[in-house]
């Protein structure tokens, strides 16, 4: 089980699921994504963060 669906939680969950484990991802808000989903751009290419 992974508690928190921000970038770290999503990454940990997908890594585990891809490696053959059953994962519960628990998030307190209505959507995953966390803070990163609200960022405008990311370093260094200023790519959109979503």
């Amino acid at each position: 089980m992974v508690v928190g669906g921000g970038i770290a939680g999503i990454q940990a969950s997908t890594d585990l699921a891809d490696a053959g484990f059953y994962v519960y991802l628990v998030e307190s808000s209505s959507a995953i994504g966390g803070v990163m989903a609200a960022l405008d751009k990311t370093f260094p290419t200023n790519d959109c963060s979503i």
Binding site: G4, A8, A12, D15, V26, A37, D40
Partner: protein
């Protein structure tokens, strides 16, 4: 584990995220996604790309839930997804491992009273400014200030708000604010190039890969940097401009007026941290973050519970992603025996073999409720589609994506013996996999579906031009049908993966990666060029945080040597690496010169952990004066008692030697911590010894800020120097004399130290041969290049090759361990699966047409195509497993010998011709 699930009052299975409910919902509330700078409805979706793509009712603001009135959403939802009968549930799960990644909270600047937040609307936080800059934000990407929605010509960004500040309760450094402030400044200038932006800072902590260059870019772009802590902000009540008071570095008091002030507020432990700690039985550190230790940065205080991301300490996205991978590896080590036991792959009936017959196309046109049907005349489109060549049947569906429609599509395929389908609905980016699965359930190859986007790129964007939108839908369907008659079933290439790993480099990172793979049940070869394992850690004798590195290393080496799954080759060199993802072959030689042996090993993945070494400079009398050392040498001499601190009066350290200048343009992240560590050690051995550190910016990020504070408390002197006024060292009859210009006092200081210690850059080893053997790119600073700075920090550009540790970039011990584990996690995914399945969108080469010119090999960004000898001729060969389907090879091929699966020349040409046909 018990989890409380709150109701969202919307059935996720039924909700199509069409948004009609929110149009009718009468309750408008500030939108937290936009940091409350805009409004949303009580029924809402957090953001347009949210997952799950389903609306949710905000129970605090919904009229029905609070006053039993309204229910507009229930009435307007065509999908009947609104469900006010949902109740909170307590769910219980048995799990083998737990990973905590609750993130962080932002410091609320209203707690630092002097900054007038939130009373002045034109003082915003870092996150608010992110939303202001964002195209999907409250001002659709225009840089405006909240008070009057006018352009703020003059912007100030203030660093360390709620960081490095004992009065706010957060003496630690938040690690990310300097970086995001510089990014914000650069992004703002991209929007409005003539903005006047000033960043007020204490130290610009642009440590880490690529950041110092980013800093220089901001300076070159006109961003002003002022080293000062702003003491007070006053708002002019009429203009709503903001007057900043601050002390300049020369001590003079200044006041400047700005139109907008951004507070780069810091990171705090997440809300609910104590509850989470109690519920999970884990301990928090002194600042409320999760307690971990230097050599086990991902382990909480309770076995089986791991941590990732900012809850472990403030950190940026790549470090969070790295920790996430690392903690996944830790969990996988624990659960190895359960791997694959609970997950199943979906099975499909055998594929029909008749699609080679003449095309029989079925077209399915979606209404998407009113989303398409409200704009596009679906019945007219349906009639039109029936007239197109090869079309056997056309159906229209209210929701093409619903479960019952999948059954209908499957049955229609079987009934009419269709061998290709066209679905005119929403975007293939989200829905193509669904229809591909439906195809497979009907016994058709997954590639025999073509989607037409008549919602996102038609009805939604031409809502007021119904006829034109209908015409566009017809044109797009005609083009898709033309392509569909040429599409072909394609196999998904499957490449077997040899379930073993090779790790290059037996330092801390390499050993960590090897041990993680071994514990996850995979055999691996650990290759070390020297005789002994340990790398840089062998020369580390003490740590700031406390744990004894030598003790850890001894035990760790023993474990690595004794693990059955690890085959160690020391004193080894790599002679040849061949192959590709899943199937590498490497020739090694190892052992002493007289007895050197050669061996060929096969392995599915490679982890690069070649490390870095301290730079040896040719300045500051290094190498010519025996009292001039580098930090690593000082550490060793202190540990082995070759230096008697009791006899030393004064030690001077110089930071950034060969760093952040033309020699090496980056900051090596660890040298400031190293200097402070040695300074504290000297103070411990002899409090009377004076220690002076000459620095440019002190980079003690995160909780290491405490040690910077401690060093100052113990009397270590910190004197800043400007990069263009570097310290000068002279040899006066064997004695050292150092002159440095202090920007604070505007005068030269003269120091006569007993020892001069240089903190030099960490630089990569000479790896040229290896780089050629691996065919992976390096970044401009000569470290190995990761494939995405934020999201793929351990993947190289070549599939099956991963990076970790200082080979990727210099970093402290805990970050090396996390990254090594993250690399092991990625590698284990491939090894556990046992095969690589690639999308059929890969290139293929017709060797009859190929003239072996090699253009494709030259242009392929992924090393997925190579020229090989086929008999006497040279021909291009595609490595499907590595191909990403970009098609560069196909468009450059002079003889059109190369084609792309699902995007062939013929198919695209047919689309273009159909574009030109009139209807």
């Amino acid at each position: 584990m018990k989890v409380a699930k709150q109701p969202r009052y919307v059935n996720e299975e039924k909700c199509t995220a069409c948004g009609v409910c929110a149009i009718y919902c009468p309750v408008s509330v500030p939108d937290p996604y936009d940091e409350n700078l805009s409004h949303r409805k009580a029924i809402h979706i957090s953001y347009t790309q949210a997952a799950p793509s389903s609306y949710a009712v905000d129970p605090n603001n919904c009229l029905f839930l609070n006053r039993q009135e309204c229910k507009q959403c229930t009435r307007t939802c065509q999908a009947e997804a609104i469900d006010f009968d949902q109740r909170p549930e307590i769910l219980s799960y048995d799990v083998g491992a737990l990973i905590l990644s609750p993130g962080f909270s932002s410091f609320n600047p209203s707690r630092s009273g002097s900054y007038n937040y939130p009373d002045s609307p034109n003082i915003v936080t870092g996150k608010e400014f992110e939303r202001i800059c964002c195209a999907s934000g409250p001002y659709v990407g225009k840089i405006l200030r909240p008070s009057d929605l006018k352009r703020p010509d003059k912007i100030a960004i203030i660093q360390c708000v709620g960081s490095r500040d004992k009065t706010s309760g957060n003496p630690y450094c938040s690690s990310v604010c300097c970086k995001y402030a510089v990014k914000d400044a650069i992004v703002a200038l991209e929007h409005e190039p003539d903005l006047d932006i000033t960043i007020f800072f204490m130290d610009m902590r642009m440590y880490g890969k690529g950041f110092d260059v980013f800093h220089e870019r901001a300076k070159a772009g006109g961003v002003k940097f002022v080293r000062s802590r702003v003491s007070n902000i006053k708002e002019n009540p009429e203009t709503r401009n903001l007057a900043l008071k601050y002390a300049a570095e020369d001590g003079s008091l200044r006041e400047d007026t700005y139109n907008l002030v951004v507070l780069a507020n810091g990171l705090e432990a997440p809300q609910g941290n104590s509850t989470l700690a109690l519920a999970t039985g884990t301990r928090l550190n002194r600042y409320g973050f999760c307690e971990t230790s230097l050599f086990s940065p991902l382990d909480t205080s309770r076995e089986g519970i791991f941590v990732a991301g900012a809850f472990q300490g403030p950190k940026a996205i790549p470090d969070s992603v790295i920790q996430a991978g690392g903690s996944a590896a830790s969990a996988a080590e624990l659960l190895t025996s359960a791997r694959g036991t609970l997950v199943t792959e979906k099975e499909f009936p055998e594929e029909r073999t008749d699609p080679d017959e003449s095309p029989k196309i079925g077209v399915f046109v979606c209404h998407c409720g009113k989303n398409i049907g409200g704009v596009v005349d679906v019945h007219e489109v349906k009639k039109y589609a029936e007239t197109l060549p090869d079309v056997v049947t056309v159906e229209d569906n209210l929701y093409s994506c619903s479960q019952d429609t999948q059954v209908l599509i499957r049955d229609t395929i079987i009934e009419h013996k269709l061998n290709r389908i066209v679905v005119a609905a929403c975007t293939p980016r989200t829905h193509e996999p669904l229809f591909q699965d439906t195809n497979r359930e009907a016994g058709l190859n997954k590639c025999l579906v073509e989607m037409v986007n008549i919602r996102d790129q038609c009805s939604w964007v031409h809502m007021h031009e119904k006829d034109a939108a209908t015409r566009k839908a017809k044109d797009l369907i005609r083009m898709a049908v033309a392509k569909a008659s040429l599409i072909e079933p394609l196999p998904e290439p499957i490449v077997k993966v040899s379930p073993k790993g090779m790790i290059i480099g037996g330092g801390l990172s390499g050993m960590t990666a090897a041990l993680s793979l071994a514990r996850q049940g995979f055999e691996c070869y650990l290759i070390e060029r020297s005789l002994e394992l340990g790398g840089n850690l062998r020369h580390t004798y003490f740590t700031l945080e406390g744990p004894d590195p030598q003790e850890y290393l001894d035990q760790f080496i023993r474990e690595v040597r004794n693990h059955d799954n690890i085959h160690l080759f020391s004193d080894a060199s790599i002679e040849k690496i061949e192959g590709f993802v899943g199937n590498f072959k490497t020739v090694l030689s190892f052992g002493d010169a007289e007895n050197r042996k050669r061996v060929e090993i096969e392995h599915g993945i490679i982890i690069i952990a070649t490390g870095a070494k301290p730079f040896e400079p040719d300045e500051y009398l290094y190498g010519s004066h025996e009292k001039v050392l580098i930090q690593q040498t000082l550490e060793k001499k202190l540990a082995l008692q070759e230096i008697d601190a009791g006899t030393l009066n004064h030690i001077v350290m110089i930071q950034c030697v060969g760093s952040r200048d033309e020699t090496h343009r980056y900051c090596s992240s660890i040298c400031c911590g190293q200097a402070i560590k040695n300074a504290l050690k000297i103070k411990e051995l002899n409090p009377e010894t004076e220690v002076t550190i000459l620095y440019r910016d002190v980079m003690t990020y995160g909780f290491n800020e405490d040690f910077y504070d401690l060093a100052r408390d113990k009397g270590v002197m910190f004197i800043r120097y400007e990069p263009d006024q570097r310290p000068r060292v002279e040899d006066l009859d064997g004695k050292l004399r150092l002159t440095v210009r202090s920007p604070l006092m505007k005068e030269d200081l003269v120091l006569d130290p007993d020892l001069l210690v240089l903190s030099t850059a960490m630089v990569p080893h000479e790896n040229r041969t290896l780089v050629e053997q691996l065919a992976v790119p390096l970044s401009s600073d000569q470290f190995f290049l990761e494939s995405h700075a934020q999201l793929k920090p351990v993947d190289s550009y070549v599939d099956g090759i991963y990076l970790c540790g200082m080979a990727q970039f210099p970093k402290p011990i805990d970050e090396r361990i996390a990254q090594a584990k993250a690399a092991a996690s990625k590698a284990a995914i491939l090894l556990a699966k046992g095969y690589v399945k690639t999308e059929p969108i890969v290139s293929s080469c017709n060797t009859d047409k190929c003239i072996g010119c090699g253009l494709c090999e030259y242009f392929c960004p992924y090393s997925a195509i190579r020229i090989t000898k086929m008999g006497k001729l040279k021909k291009a060969e595609v490595i499907s497993a590595a191909c990403k389907g970009c098609g560069v090879c196909a468009s450059y091929c002079p003889t059109r010998a190369i084609d792309m699966g699902r995007f062939t020349d013929d198919q695209i040409t047919a689309q273009i011709r159909a574009f030109g046909e009139k209807h």
